[in-house]
Amino acid sequence: MNKKDFYTGLVFLLFTGAIFVLILRSRTTGEFSGPGPFFFPGVAALLLGGLSLTLLIKGARPQEGGGAAGEGKRMLGRIIWIVVWSAVYGATIEKLGYLLSTGLVTFALLAYFNRGWIFNVVFSLVTPVSIYILFDTLLKAPLPKGILGP
Protein backbone atom coordinates (compact mmCIF):
# COMPACT_ATOMS: atom_id res chain seq x y z
CA MET A 1 0.00 0.00 0.00
CA ASN A 2 1.24 3.47 -0.89
CA LYS A 3 0.27 5.46 2.19
CA LYS A 4 1.03 8.84 0.61
CA ASP A 5 -1.33 8.25 -2.31
CA PHE A 6 -3.97 6.61 -0.12
CA TYR A 7 -4.18 9.43 2.40
CA THR A 8 -3.90 12.12 -0.27
CA GLY A 9 -6.83 10.55 -2.10
CA LEU A 10 -8.77 10.30 1.14
CA VAL A 11 -8.19 13.95 2.08
CA PHE A 12 -9.30 15.18 -1.32
CA LEU A 13 -12.29 12.84 -1.32
CA LEU A 14 -13.44 14.28 2.01
CA PHE A 15 -12.83 17.78 0.66
CA THR A 16 -14.97 16.96 -2.37
CA GLY A 17 -17.72 15.68 -0.08
CA ALA A 18 -17.71 18.98 1.77
CA ILE A 19 -17.96 20.89 -1.52
CA PHE A 20 -20.97 18.83 -2.61
CA VAL A 21 -22.72 19.50 0.70
CA LEU A 22 -22.27 23.23 0.16
CA ILE A 23 -23.45 23.02 -3.45
CA LEU A 24 -26.55 21.02 -2.58
CA ARG A 25 -27.44 23.56 0.10
CA SER A 26 -27.23 26.36 -2.46
CA ARG A 27 -29.82 24.74 -4.80
CA THR A 28 -28.65 26.99 -7.63
CA THR A 29 -26.93 24.67 -10.03
CA GLY A 30 -29.37 25.76 -12.73
CA GLU A 31 -30.31 23.44 -15.55
CA PHE A 32 -28.13 21.28 -17.72
CA SER A 33 -28.83 23.42 -20.77
CA GLY A 34 -28.54 26.68 -18.84
CA PRO A 35 -25.92 26.18 -16.16
CA GLY A 36 -26.37 28.15 -12.96
CA PRO A 37 -23.63 29.58 -10.73
CA PHE A 38 -22.88 26.29 -8.98
CA PHE A 39 -22.84 24.09 -12.10
CA PHE A 40 -19.20 24.62 -12.94
CA PRO A 41 -17.97 24.23 -9.35
CA GLY A 42 -20.04 21.02 -9.31
CA VAL A 43 -18.25 19.75 -12.41
CA ALA A 44 -14.88 20.67 -10.87
CA ALA A 45 -15.89 18.84 -7.69
CA LEU A 46 -16.94 15.76 -9.71
CA LEU A 47 -13.52 15.73 -11.38
CA LEU A 48 -11.83 16.19 -8.02
CA GLY A 49 -13.88 13.37 -6.55
CA GLY A 50 -13.22 10.97 -9.42
CA LEU A 51 -9.49 11.65 -9.47
CA SER A 52 -9.10 11.46 -5.69
CA LEU A 53 -11.02 8.16 -5.62
CA THR A 54 -8.70 6.83 -8.35
CA LEU A 55 -5.67 7.90 -6.33
CA LEU A 56 -7.11 6.34 -3.17
CA ILE A 57 -7.73 3.01 -4.92
CA LYS A 58 -4.27 3.14 -6.50
CA GLY A 59 -2.74 3.84 -3.10
CA ALA A 60 -4.70 1.04 -1.43
CA ARG A 61 -3.28 -1.60 -3.80
CA PRO A 62 -0.51 -3.77 -2.42
CA GLN A 63 2.86 -2.55 -3.71
CA GLU A 64 5.46 -4.76 -5.40
CA GLY A 65 8.64 -4.95 -3.39
CA GLY A 66 9.16 -2.99 -0.20
CA GLY A 67 7.80 0.46 0.20
CA ALA A 68 10.08 3.46 -0.06
CA ALA A 69 12.52 3.74 2.81
CA GLY A 70 11.44 6.13 5.52
CA GLU A 71 12.72 9.61 4.95
CA GLY A 72 15.05 11.41 7.29
CA LYS A 73 13.78 13.17 10.37
CA ARG A 74 11.77 16.20 9.38
CA MET A 75 13.11 19.46 10.73
CA LEU A 76 9.69 20.45 11.94
CA GLY A 77 11.03 23.01 14.37
CA ARG A 78 12.36 25.12 11.47
CA ILE A 79 9.13 24.78 9.54
CA ILE A 80 6.95 25.72 12.50
CA TRP A 81 9.19 28.69 13.35
CA ILE A 82 8.92 30.08 9.82
CA VAL A 83 5.16 29.53 9.56
CA VAL A 84 4.44 31.06 12.96
CA TRP A 85 6.53 34.16 12.28
CA SER A 86 5.01 34.54 8.82
CA ALA A 87 1.58 34.56 10.46
CA VAL A 88 2.83 37.04 13.09
CA TYR A 89 4.05 39.20 10.22
CA GLY A 90 0.56 39.27 8.73
CA ALA A 91 -0.98 40.03 12.12
CA THR A 92 1.36 42.91 12.91
CA ILE A 93 2.08 44.55 9.57
CA GLU A 94 -0.82 47.01 9.89
CA LYS A 95 -0.88 47.34 13.67
CA LEU A 96 2.84 47.94 14.26
CA GLY A 97 3.56 49.25 10.79
CA TYR A 98 5.76 47.84 8.08
CA LEU A 99 9.14 48.91 9.46
CA LEU A 100 8.65 47.58 12.99
CA SER A 101 6.92 44.34 11.99
CA THR A 102 9.49 43.57 9.30
CA GLY A 103 12.39 44.28 11.64
CA LEU A 104 10.86 42.09 14.33
CA VAL A 105 10.15 39.17 12.01
CA THR A 106 13.52 39.43 10.25
CA PHE A 107 15.34 39.33 13.59
CA ALA A 108 13.23 36.41 14.84
CA LEU A 109 13.91 34.35 11.70
CA LEU A 110 17.61 35.15 11.60
CA ALA A 111 18.03 34.48 15.33
CA TYR A 112 16.87 30.89 14.77
CA PHE A 113 19.09 30.18 11.80
CA ASN A 114 22.15 32.33 12.30
CA ARG A 115 24.27 32.80 15.40
CA GLY A 116 26.01 35.98 14.27
CA TRP A 117 24.20 38.60 16.38
CA ILE A 118 25.85 41.62 14.79
CA PHE A 119 24.83 40.43 11.33
CA ASN A 120 21.31 39.68 12.61
CA VAL A 121 20.84 43.14 14.12
CA VAL A 122 22.28 45.00 11.14
CA PHE A 123 20.28 42.94 8.65
CA SER A 124 17.11 43.43 10.71
CA LEU A 125 17.60 47.19 10.53
CA VAL A 126 18.70 47.45 6.90
CA THR A 127 16.16 45.06 5.35
CA PRO A 128 12.93 46.80 6.39
CA VAL A 129 14.27 50.23 5.50
CA SER A 130 15.55 49.22 2.09
CA ILE A 131 12.41 47.28 1.14
CA TYR A 132 10.24 50.14 2.44
CA ILE A 133 12.10 52.59 0.21
CA LEU A 134 11.81 50.18 -2.73
CA PHE A 135 8.06 49.70 -2.40
CA ASP A 136 6.80 52.93 -0.87
CA THR A 137 9.04 55.45 -2.62
CA LEU A 138 10.27 53.85 -5.85
CA LEU A 139 7.34 51.60 -6.74
CA LYS A 140 4.66 53.87 -5.26
CA ALA A 141 3.09 50.97 -3.37
CA PRO A 142 2.35 52.49 0.05
CA LEU A 143 3.09 50.38 3.09
CA PRO A 144 1.47 50.89 6.50
CA LYS A 145 3.22 53.19 8.94
CA GLY A 146 1.39 51.81 11.99
CA ILE A 147 2.46 53.27 15.33
CA LEU A 148 5.31 55.21 13.72
CA GLY A 149 3.13 57.41 11.59
CA PRO A 150 -0.12 59.34 11.43
Binding site: I82, E94, K140
Partner: protein, 482 residues
Protein backbone atom coordinates in the same frame (compact mmCIF):
# COMPACT_ATOMS: atom_id res chain seq x y z
CA UNK B 1 10.36 50.69 -27.79
CA UNK B 2 12.60 48.01 -26.31
CA UNK B 3 15.53 50.34 -26.82
CA UNK B 4 13.98 53.25 -24.95
CA UNK B 5 16.16 54.00 -21.91
CA UNK B 6 13.42 53.02 -19.46
CA UNK B 7 12.69 49.66 -21.06
CA UNK B 8 16.37 49.00 -21.61
CA UNK B 9 16.84 49.41 -17.87
CA UNK B 10 13.86 47.18 -17.08
CA UNK B 11 15.25 44.52 -19.39
CA UNK B 12 18.64 44.76 -17.71
CA UNK B 13 17.11 44.52 -14.23
CA UNK B 14 15.00 41.56 -15.33
CA UNK B 15 17.85 39.54 -16.86
CA UNK B 16 20.13 40.35 -13.91
CA UNK B 17 17.56 39.25 -11.34
CA UNK B 18 16.71 36.24 -13.50
CA UNK B 19 20.35 35.18 -13.61
CA UNK B 20 20.64 35.49 -9.83
CA UNK B 21 17.46 33.45 -9.43
CA UNK B 22 18.79 30.85 -11.82
CA UNK B 23 22.16 30.72 -10.09
CA UNK B 24 20.77 30.23 -6.60
CA UNK B 25 19.43 26.73 -6.04
CA UNK B 26 16.29 26.84 -3.92
CA UNK B 27 14.93 29.86 -5.76
CA UNK B 28 12.73 28.92 -8.66
CA UNK B 29 11.93 31.10 -11.63
CA UNK B 30 8.21 30.76 -10.87
CA UNK B 31 8.94 31.94 -7.31
CA UNK B 32 10.85 34.94 -8.59
CA UNK B 33 8.27 35.94 -11.19
CA UNK B 34 5.43 35.51 -8.68
CA UNK B 35 7.26 37.50 -5.97
CA UNK B 36 8.25 40.30 -8.34
CA UNK B 37 4.87 40.79 -10.00
CA UNK B 38 3.65 43.11 -7.21
CA UNK B 39 6.72 45.26 -7.77
CA UNK B 40 5.68 45.87 -11.33
CA UNK B 41 2.24 47.32 -10.64
CA UNK B 42 3.53 50.87 -10.74
CA UNK B 43 5.04 50.30 -14.20
CA UNK B 44 3.28 50.32 -17.51
CA UNK B 45 2.41 46.79 -18.68
CA UNK B 46 5.02 46.81 -21.46
CA UNK B 47 7.90 47.61 -19.12
CA UNK B 48 6.58 45.15 -16.55
CA UNK B 49 6.38 42.31 -19.06
CA UNK B 50 9.82 43.11 -20.43
CA UNK B 51 11.22 42.79 -16.93
CA UNK B 52 9.30 39.59 -16.07
CA UNK B 53 10.23 37.94 -19.38
CA UNK B 54 13.85 38.93 -18.70
CA UNK B 55 13.67 37.09 -15.40
CA UNK B 56 12.32 34.02 -17.21
CA UNK B 57 15.07 33.53 -19.73
CA UNK B 58 17.72 35.01 -17.42
CA UNK B 59 16.95 32.15 -15.04
CA UNK B 60 17.56 29.65 -17.87
CA UNK B 61 21.04 31.12 -18.33
CA UNK B 62 21.73 31.24 -14.59
CA UNK B 63 20.60 27.68 -13.95
CA UNK B 64 23.46 26.36 -16.07
CA UNK B 65 26.05 28.10 -13.86
CA UNK B 66 25.28 26.07 -10.76
CA UNK B 67 24.75 22.95 -12.82
CA UNK B 68 28.31 23.24 -14.10
CA UNK B 69 30.03 24.60 -11.00
CA UNK B 70 28.37 22.65 -8.18
CA UNK B 71 26.47 19.88 -9.94
CA UNK B 72 23.20 21.37 -8.69
CA UNK B 73 20.82 22.67 -11.31
CA UNK B 74 19.63 26.15 -10.40
CA UNK B 75 16.54 25.41 -12.45
CA UNK B 76 14.97 22.08 -13.41
CA UNK B 77 15.82 22.48 -17.13
CA UNK B 78 19.51 22.52 -16.20
CA UNK B 79 19.36 18.97 -14.82
CA UNK B 80 20.84 17.46 -17.98
CA UNK B 81 23.64 20.04 -17.95
CA UNK B 82 24.90 18.66 -14.62
CA UNK B 83 25.74 15.31 -16.22
CA UNK B 84 28.54 16.58 -18.45
CA UNK B 85 28.95 20.19 -17.32
CA UNK B 86 30.20 19.28 -13.86
CA UNK B 87 32.54 16.67 -15.30
CA UNK B 88 34.01 19.33 -17.58
CA UNK B 89 34.47 21.59 -14.54
CA UNK B 90 36.32 18.84 -12.69
CA UNK B 91 38.61 18.51 -15.72
CA UNK B 92 39.44 22.22 -15.47
CA UNK B 93 37.13 23.10 -18.37
CA UNK B 94 34.41 24.98 -16.48
CA UNK B 95 35.12 28.04 -18.62
CA UNK B 96 34.41 26.44 -22.01
CA UNK B 97 31.36 24.69 -20.52
CA UNK B 98 29.95 27.99 -19.27
CA UNK B 99 30.95 29.71 -22.49
CA UNK B 100 29.30 27.21 -24.81
CA UNK B 101 26.17 27.23 -22.61
CA UNK B 102 26.01 31.02 -22.90
CA UNK B 103 26.65 31.18 -26.65
CA UNK B 104 24.32 28.29 -27.38
CA UNK B 105 21.60 29.94 -25.32
CA UNK B 106 22.11 33.20 -27.20
CA UNK B 107 21.79 31.50 -30.59
CA UNK B 108 18.69 29.61 -29.45
CA UNK B 109 17.08 32.70 -27.96
CA UNK B 110 17.65 34.67 -31.16
CA UNK B 111 16.23 31.87 -33.32
CA UNK B 112 13.16 31.56 -31.08
CA UNK B 113 12.55 35.29 -31.30
CA UNK B 114 12.78 35.28 -35.10
CA UNK B 115 10.39 32.33 -35.29
CA UNK B 116 7.97 34.11 -32.96
CA UNK B 117 7.94 37.11 -35.30
CA UNK B 118 7.34 34.88 -38.34
CA UNK B 119 4.65 32.71 -36.76
CA UNK B 120 2.77 35.39 -34.85
CA UNK B 121 0.66 36.82 -37.66
CA UNK B 122 -0.51 33.53 -39.25
CA UNK B 123 -1.41 32.12 -35.82
CA UNK B 124 -3.26 35.27 -34.85
CA UNK B 125 -5.22 35.10 -38.09
CA UNK B 126 -6.29 31.54 -37.30
CA UNK B 127 -7.14 32.36 -33.69
CA UNK B 128 -9.32 35.32 -34.66
CA UNK B 129 -11.71 32.87 -36.28
CA UNK B 130 -12.16 31.04 -32.97
CA UNK B 131 -15.35 31.50 -30.98
CA UNK B 132 -16.17 30.57 -27.36
CA UNK B 133 -16.59 26.90 -28.38
CA UNK B 134 -13.08 26.67 -29.80
CA UNK B 135 -11.56 28.62 -26.93
CA UNK B 136 -13.25 26.38 -24.38
CA UNK B 137 -11.89 23.25 -26.05
CA UNK B 138 -8.44 24.75 -26.55
CA UNK B 139 -8.21 25.66 -22.86
CA UNK B 140 -9.36 22.16 -21.88
CA UNK B 141 -6.58 20.74 -24.08
CA UNK B 142 -4.01 23.05 -22.47
CA UNK B 143 -5.15 22.04 -18.99
CA UNK B 144 -5.18 18.31 -19.79
CA UNK B 145 -1.75 18.27 -21.37
CA UNK B 146 -0.12 20.54 -18.80
CA UNK B 147 -1.86 18.97 -15.83
CA UNK B 148 -1.14 15.52 -17.11
CA UNK B 149 2.51 16.09 -17.93
CA UNK B 150 3.54 18.01 -14.86
CA UNK B 151 4.87 15.95 -12.00
CA UNK B 152 5.42 12.25 -11.99
CA UNK B 153 1.83 11.10 -12.12
CA UNK B 154 -0.92 11.99 -14.58
CA UNK B 155 -3.60 11.45 -11.94
CA UNK B 156 -1.87 13.75 -9.47
CA UNK B 157 -1.32 16.44 -12.09
CA UNK B 158 -4.96 16.37 -13.16
CA UNK B 159 -6.10 16.25 -9.53
CA UNK B 160 -4.18 19.46 -8.84
CA UNK B 161 -5.54 21.06 -12.01
CA UNK B 162 -9.11 20.20 -10.89
CA UNK B 163 -8.32 21.64 -7.45
CA UNK B 164 -7.08 24.83 -9.10
CA UNK B 165 -10.25 25.05 -11.22
CA UNK B 166 -12.33 24.73 -8.07
CA UNK B 167 -10.33 27.46 -6.33
CA UNK B 168 -10.96 29.66 -9.36
CA UNK B 169 -14.73 29.43 -8.76
CA UNK B 170 -14.53 30.99 -5.31
CA UNK B 171 -15.98 34.48 -5.30
CA UNK B 172 -18.89 36.12 -7.05
CA UNK B 173 -20.30 34.42 -10.12
CA UNK B 174 -19.73 36.86 -12.99
CA UNK B 175 -23.05 36.05 -14.70
CA UNK B 176 -25.57 35.94 -11.85
CA UNK B 177 -23.70 37.77 -9.06
CA UNK B 178 -24.22 34.83 -6.66
CA UNK B 179 -21.63 34.38 -3.94
CA UNK B 180 -19.77 31.09 -4.23
CA UNK B 181 -17.90 29.61 -1.24
CA UNK B 182 -17.17 33.02 0.30
CA UNK B 183 -18.44 32.07 3.79
CA UNK B 184 -19.34 35.71 4.37
CA UNK B 185 -15.70 36.83 4.16
CA UNK B 186 -15.67 40.10 2.17
CA UNK B 187 -12.13 39.60 0.86
CA UNK B 188 -13.16 36.29 -0.75
CA UNK B 189 -15.83 37.99 -2.85
CA UNK B 190 -13.14 39.03 -5.30
CA UNK B 191 -12.08 35.42 -5.48
CA UNK B 192 -8.85 33.73 -4.51
CA UNK B 193 -6.27 35.76 -6.36
CA UNK B 194 -3.69 33.84 -8.30
CA UNK B 195 -0.87 35.87 -6.72
CA UNK B 196 -1.27 34.74 -3.07
CA UNK B 197 -1.65 31.18 -4.34
CA UNK B 198 1.44 31.45 -6.54
CA UNK B 199 3.56 33.13 -3.87
CA UNK B 200 2.39 30.61 -1.28
CA UNK B 201 2.87 27.50 -3.39
CA UNK B 202 6.14 28.52 -5.00
CA UNK B 203 7.96 31.03 -2.80
CA UNK B 204 6.89 30.23 0.75
CA UNK B 205 6.58 26.48 0.21
CA UNK B 206 9.98 26.41 -1.48
CA UNK B 207 11.52 28.18 1.53
CA UNK B 208 9.94 25.60 3.86
CA UNK B 209 11.15 22.71 1.72
CA UNK B 210 14.66 24.01 1.13
CA UNK B 211 15.27 24.98 4.76
CA UNK B 212 15.14 21.30 5.66
CA UNK B 213 18.00 20.47 3.37
CA UNK B 214 21.59 21.26 4.13
CA UNK B 215 23.00 22.45 0.86
CA UNK B 216 26.74 22.11 1.20
CA UNK B 217 28.49 21.20 -1.99
CA UNK B 218 32.03 21.90 -3.02
CA UNK B 219 32.14 24.82 -5.41
CA UNK B 220 34.52 24.75 -8.34
CA UNK B 221 36.18 28.11 -7.79
CA UNK B 222 38.79 28.36 -10.48
CA UNK B 223 37.13 29.27 -13.75
CA UNK B 224 39.51 30.09 -16.52
CA UNK B 225 39.22 30.67 -20.25
CA UNK B 226 35.56 31.35 -20.86
CA UNK B 227 35.73 31.28 -24.62
CA UNK B 228 35.26 27.84 -26.20
CA UNK B 229 38.07 26.73 -28.49
CA UNK B 230 37.64 26.10 -32.21
CA UNK B 231 37.53 22.38 -31.43
CA UNK B 232 34.70 22.98 -28.92
CA UNK B 233 32.73 24.92 -31.55
CA UNK B 234 33.17 22.18 -34.15
CA UNK B 235 32.06 19.56 -31.64
CA UNK B 236 29.06 21.63 -30.53
CA UNK B 237 27.71 23.08 -33.76
CA UNK B 238 25.41 20.15 -34.51
CA UNK B 239 24.18 20.00 -30.93
CA UNK B 240 23.40 23.72 -30.95
CA UNK B 241 21.52 23.51 -34.25
CA UNK B 242 19.50 20.46 -33.21
CA UNK B 243 18.88 21.77 -29.68
CA UNK B 244 17.54 25.03 -31.08
CA UNK B 245 14.94 23.36 -33.27
CA UNK B 246 14.00 20.68 -30.74
CA UNK B 247 13.68 23.22 -27.93
CA UNK B 248 11.59 25.66 -29.92
CA UNK B 249 9.12 23.03 -31.14
CA UNK B 250 8.71 21.49 -27.69
CA UNK B 251 8.40 24.93 -26.09
CA UNK B 252 5.45 25.77 -28.33
CA UNK B 253 3.52 22.69 -27.26
CA UNK B 254 1.31 22.74 -24.16
CA UNK B 255 3.00 20.56 -21.61
CA UNK B 256 6.30 20.96 -23.43
CA UNK B 257 8.56 23.21 -21.46
CA UNK B 258 12.27 23.74 -21.06
CA UNK B 259 12.88 20.65 -18.91
CA UNK B 260 11.42 18.25 -21.46
CA UNK B 261 13.29 20.07 -24.23
CA UNK B 262 16.64 19.68 -22.47
CA UNK B 263 16.03 15.98 -21.75
CA UNK B 264 15.03 15.23 -25.37
CA UNK B 265 18.01 17.18 -26.69
CA UNK B 266 20.45 15.27 -24.46
CA UNK B 267 19.02 11.91 -25.56
CA UNK B 268 19.17 12.94 -29.22
CA UNK B 269 22.79 14.07 -28.93
CA UNK B 270 23.77 10.84 -27.23
CA UNK B 271 22.01 8.88 -29.96
CA UNK B 272 23.64 10.71 -32.90
CA UNK B 273 27.08 11.08 -31.35
CA UNK B 274 30.03 9.08 -32.72
CA UNK B 275 31.28 8.77 -29.14
CA UNK B 276 28.18 8.12 -26.98
CA UNK B 277 30.36 6.58 -24.27
CA UNK B 278 31.79 10.07 -23.62
CA UNK B 279 28.42 11.34 -22.44
CA UNK B 280 28.40 11.67 -18.67
CA UNK B 281 32.19 12.09 -18.69
CA UNK B 282 32.49 15.66 -19.96
CA UNK B 283 31.20 15.65 -23.55
CA UNK B 284 30.68 19.26 -24.58
CA UNK B 285 27.70 18.25 -26.72
CA UNK B 286 26.02 17.15 -23.48
CA UNK B 287 26.14 20.79 -22.37
CA UNK B 288 25.58 22.56 -25.69
CA UNK B 289 22.47 20.60 -26.70
CA UNK B 290 20.40 20.80 -23.48
CA UNK B 291 21.35 24.41 -22.76
CA UNK B 292 20.40 25.49 -26.26
CA UNK B 293 17.19 23.52 -26.11
CA UNK B 294 16.02 24.93 -22.79
CA UNK B 295 16.53 28.51 -23.93
CA UNK B 296 14.81 27.84 -27.26
CA UNK B 297 11.89 26.32 -25.34
CA UNK B 298 11.59 29.46 -23.21
CA UNK B 299 11.22 31.47 -26.42
CA UNK B 300 8.89 28.90 -27.94
CA UNK B 301 6.59 29.14 -24.91
CA UNK B 302 5.93 32.76 -25.83
CA UNK B 303 4.30 31.75 -29.14
CA UNK B 304 1.09 30.19 -27.78
CA UNK B 305 1.05 32.64 -24.85
CA UNK B 306 1.06 35.81 -26.92
CA UNK B 307 -0.86 34.61 -30.00
CA UNK B 308 -3.48 32.36 -28.43
CA UNK B 309 -3.43 33.31 -24.76
CA UNK B 310 -2.55 29.69 -23.91
CA UNK B 311 0.29 29.05 -21.48
CA UNK B 312 2.39 26.05 -22.40
CA UNK B 313 4.46 25.97 -19.22
CA UNK B 314 3.99 26.79 -15.56
CA UNK B 315 6.04 29.97 -15.87
CA UNK B 316 4.08 31.19 -18.87
CA UNK B 317 0.92 30.50 -16.84
CA UNK B 318 2.23 32.87 -14.18
CA UNK B 319 3.10 35.42 -16.91
CA UNK B 320 -0.45 35.05 -18.22
CA UNK B 321 -1.74 35.78 -14.73
CA UNK B 322 0.48 38.86 -14.59
CA UNK B 323 -0.83 40.16 -17.92
CA UNK B 324 -4.40 39.72 -16.71
CA UNK B 325 -3.57 41.60 -13.52
CA UNK B 326 -2.34 44.48 -15.68
CA UNK B 327 -5.69 44.41 -17.49
CA UNK B 328 -4.20 42.94 -20.68
CA UNK B 329 -5.74 39.81 -22.16
CA UNK B 330 -3.20 37.79 -24.19
CA UNK B 331 -4.51 36.25 -27.36
CA UNK B 332 -5.07 37.22 -30.97
CA UNK B 333 -6.60 40.58 -30.09
CA UNK B 334 -3.45 41.52 -28.19
CA UNK B 335 -1.70 42.19 -31.49
CA UNK B 336 -4.47 44.61 -32.48
CA UNK B 337 -5.17 46.30 -29.16
CA UNK B 338 -1.69 46.38 -27.61
CA UNK B 339 0.79 46.20 -30.50
CA UNK B 340 3.28 48.27 -28.51
CA UNK B 341 3.34 45.70 -25.74
CA UNK B 342 3.69 42.71 -28.05
CA UNK B 343 6.35 44.02 -30.37
CA UNK B 344 8.15 45.79 -27.54
CA UNK B 345 8.26 42.49 -25.68
CA UNK B 346 9.50 40.59 -28.75
CA UNK B 347 12.18 43.20 -29.42
CA UNK B 348 13.25 42.96 -25.77
CA UNK B 349 13.97 39.24 -26.30
CA UNK B 350 16.76 40.18 -28.73
CA UNK B 351 18.09 42.83 -26.41
CA UNK B 352 17.76 40.59 -23.35
CA UNK B 353 19.55 37.65 -24.96
CA UNK B 354 22.40 39.92 -25.96
CA UNK B 355 22.60 41.38 -22.44
CA UNK B 356 22.70 37.90 -20.94
CA UNK B 357 25.62 36.93 -23.11
CA UNK B 358 27.49 40.03 -21.96
CA UNK B 359 26.49 39.81 -18.29
CA UNK B 360 26.90 36.10 -17.65
CA UNK B 361 30.44 35.49 -18.71
CA UNK B 362 32.32 38.36 -17.02
CA UNK B 363 30.28 38.08 -13.83
CA UNK B 364 31.04 34.41 -13.23
CA UNK B 365 33.23 35.39 -10.28
CA UNK B 366 30.28 37.11 -8.61
CA UNK B 367 28.00 34.13 -9.16
CA UNK B 368 30.62 31.87 -7.56
CA UNK B 369 30.66 34.12 -4.47
CA UNK B 370 26.88 34.19 -4.40
CA UNK B 371 26.80 30.42 -4.30
CA UNK B 372 28.72 30.49 -1.04
CA UNK B 373 25.98 32.46 0.78
CA UNK B 374 24.17 29.96 3.03
CA UNK B 375 20.53 29.59 2.12
CA UNK B 376 19.53 30.07 5.76
CA UNK B 377 20.58 33.72 5.46
CA UNK B 378 18.83 34.19 2.14
CA UNK B 379 15.54 32.64 3.21
CA UNK B 380 14.66 35.53 5.50
CA UNK B 381 15.07 38.00 2.69
CA UNK B 382 13.04 35.84 0.29
CA UNK B 383 10.24 35.44 2.81
CA UNK B 384 10.08 39.14 3.65
CA UNK B 385 10.00 40.15 -0.03
CA UNK B 386 7.35 37.51 -0.77
CA UNK B 387 5.05 38.62 2.06
CA UNK B 388 5.61 42.30 1.36
CA UNK B 389 4.74 41.78 -2.30
CA UNK B 390 1.62 39.84 -1.38
CA UNK B 391 0.47 42.58 1.02
CA UNK B 392 1.35 45.46 -1.31
CA UNK B 393 -0.81 44.11 -4.16
CA UNK B 394 -4.12 44.97 -2.51
CA UNK B 395 -3.03 46.16 0.96
CA UNK B 396 -4.72 43.04 2.24
CA UNK B 397 -3.70 41.11 5.35
CA UNK B 398 -6.13 38.35 4.28
CA UNK B 399 -4.03 37.74 1.20
CA UNK B 400 -0.93 37.44 3.36
CA UNK B 401 -2.68 34.78 5.43
CA UNK B 402 -3.78 33.07 2.21
CA UNK B 403 -0.21 33.01 0.96
CA UNK B 404 1.02 31.51 4.24
CA UNK B 405 -1.77 28.89 4.18
CA UNK B 406 -0.92 27.96 0.61
CA UNK B 407 2.74 27.87 1.60
CA UNK B 408 1.93 25.21 4.20
CA UNK B 409 -0.28 23.39 1.70
CA UNK B 410 2.53 23.55 -0.84
CA UNK B 411 4.98 22.11 1.69
CA UNK B 412 2.72 19.12 2.38
CA UNK B 413 2.02 18.72 -1.31
CA UNK B 414 5.74 18.30 -1.90
CA UNK B 415 5.91 15.58 0.77
CA UNK B 416 3.26 13.55 -1.10
CA UNK B 417 4.64 14.34 -4.59
CA UNK B 418 1.79 16.56 -5.73
CA UNK B 419 2.85 19.12 -8.39
CA UNK B 420 2.01 22.77 -7.67
CA UNK B 421 2.01 24.26 -11.16
CA UNK B 422 -1.28 22.65 -12.32
CA UNK B 423 -3.06 24.45 -9.46
CA UNK B 424 -1.93 27.79 -10.85
CA UNK B 425 -3.05 26.69 -14.32
CA UNK B 426 -6.45 25.80 -12.90
CA UNK B 427 -6.82 29.06 -10.95
CA UNK B 428 -5.98 31.15 -14.01
CA UNK B 429 -7.64 29.10 -16.74
CA UNK B 430 -10.65 27.87 -14.74
CA UNK B 431 -12.61 31.14 -14.84
CA UNK B 432 -11.80 31.52 -18.55
CA UNK B 433 -12.99 27.98 -19.26
CA UNK B 434 -16.23 28.63 -17.38
CA UNK B 435 -16.86 31.91 -19.20
CA UNK B 436 -16.30 30.40 -22.66
CA UNK B 437 -18.35 27.32 -21.70
CA UNK B 438 -21.37 29.37 -20.67
CA UNK B 439 -21.09 31.69 -23.65
CA UNK B 440 -20.89 28.73 -26.02
CA UNK B 441 -24.06 27.26 -24.49
CA UNK B 442 -25.88 30.58 -24.72
CA UNK B 443 -25.01 30.85 -28.41
CA UNK B 444 -26.06 27.26 -29.09
CA UNK B 445 -29.24 27.56 -26.98
CA UNK B 446 -28.05 25.00 -24.49
CA UNK B 447 -27.03 22.43 -27.10
CA UNK B 448 -23.92 20.56 -25.89
CA UNK B 449 -23.25 19.03 -29.30
CA UNK B 450 -21.84 22.41 -30.32
CA UNK B 451 -18.51 21.35 -28.80
CA UNK B 452 -18.32 18.44 -31.23
CA UNK B 453 -20.05 19.86 -34.28
CA UNK B 454 -17.49 22.66 -34.51
CA UNK B 455 -14.59 20.79 -36.19
CA UNK B 456 -11.74 22.69 -34.51
CA UNK B 457 -13.36 22.26 -31.11
CA UNK B 458 -13.87 18.54 -31.76
CA UNK B 459 -10.19 18.13 -32.68
CA UNK B 460 -9.06 19.92 -29.52
CA UNK B 461 -11.34 17.83 -27.30
CA UNK B 462 -10.21 14.56 -28.92
CA UNK B 463 -6.58 15.64 -28.44
CA UNK B 464 -7.35 16.41 -24.77
CA UNK B 465 -8.84 12.93 -24.32
CA UNK B 466 -5.79 11.39 -26.00
CA UNK B 467 -3.48 13.42 -23.77
CA UNK B 468 -5.11 11.84 -20.73
CA UNK B 469 -5.45 8.34 -22.16
CA UNK B 470 -1.98 8.05 -23.72
CA UNK B 471 -0.02 7.66 -20.44
CA UNK B 472 -2.64 5.15 -19.24
CA UNK B 473 -2.36 3.14 -22.47
CA UNK B 474 1.43 3.13 -22.16
CA UNK B 475 1.19 1.96 -18.56
CA UNK B 476 -1.23 -0.84 -19.57
CA UNK B 477 1.09 -1.97 -22.38
CA UNK B 478 4.09 -2.01 -20.02
CA UNK B 479 2.11 -4.02 -17.49
CA UNK B 480 1.06 -6.56 -20.12
CA UNK B 481 4.65 -6.98 -21.31
CA UNK B 482 5.66 -7.94 -17.76
Amino acid sequence: MALSPGNFLHCLIGVFIGTIVGVLPGLGVMNAVAILIPMTFGMNPTSAMIMLAGIYYGAMYGGSTTAILIKTPGEAPAIMTTLDGYQMALQGRAGPALGIAAFGSFIAGTFATIMLMILAKPLVKVALSFGPTEYFSMLILALCTLGGLMGESVIKGLLMAAFGIFLGTVGIDPVTGTERFTFGIPELMDGIGFLPVAIGLFAIAEVLITVEMEMMRPVVEKVKGLLPTAKDWIASKGAIARGTVIGFLIGCLPGGGATLASVVSYLVEKRVSKHPDQFGKGAIEGVAGPETANNAASGGAMVPLLTLGIPSTGVSAVLLGALMLYGVRPGPLLFEKNPDLVWGLIASFYVGNFMLLIINLPLIGIWVQLLKVPFKKLLTFILVIAITGTYATNNSVTEVYMAVIFGVIGYFMKQVDLPAAPIIMGVILGPLIETHFRRALIISNGNYSTFFTHPVSAVFLCAAIMAILYPLIRWAIKRNKR
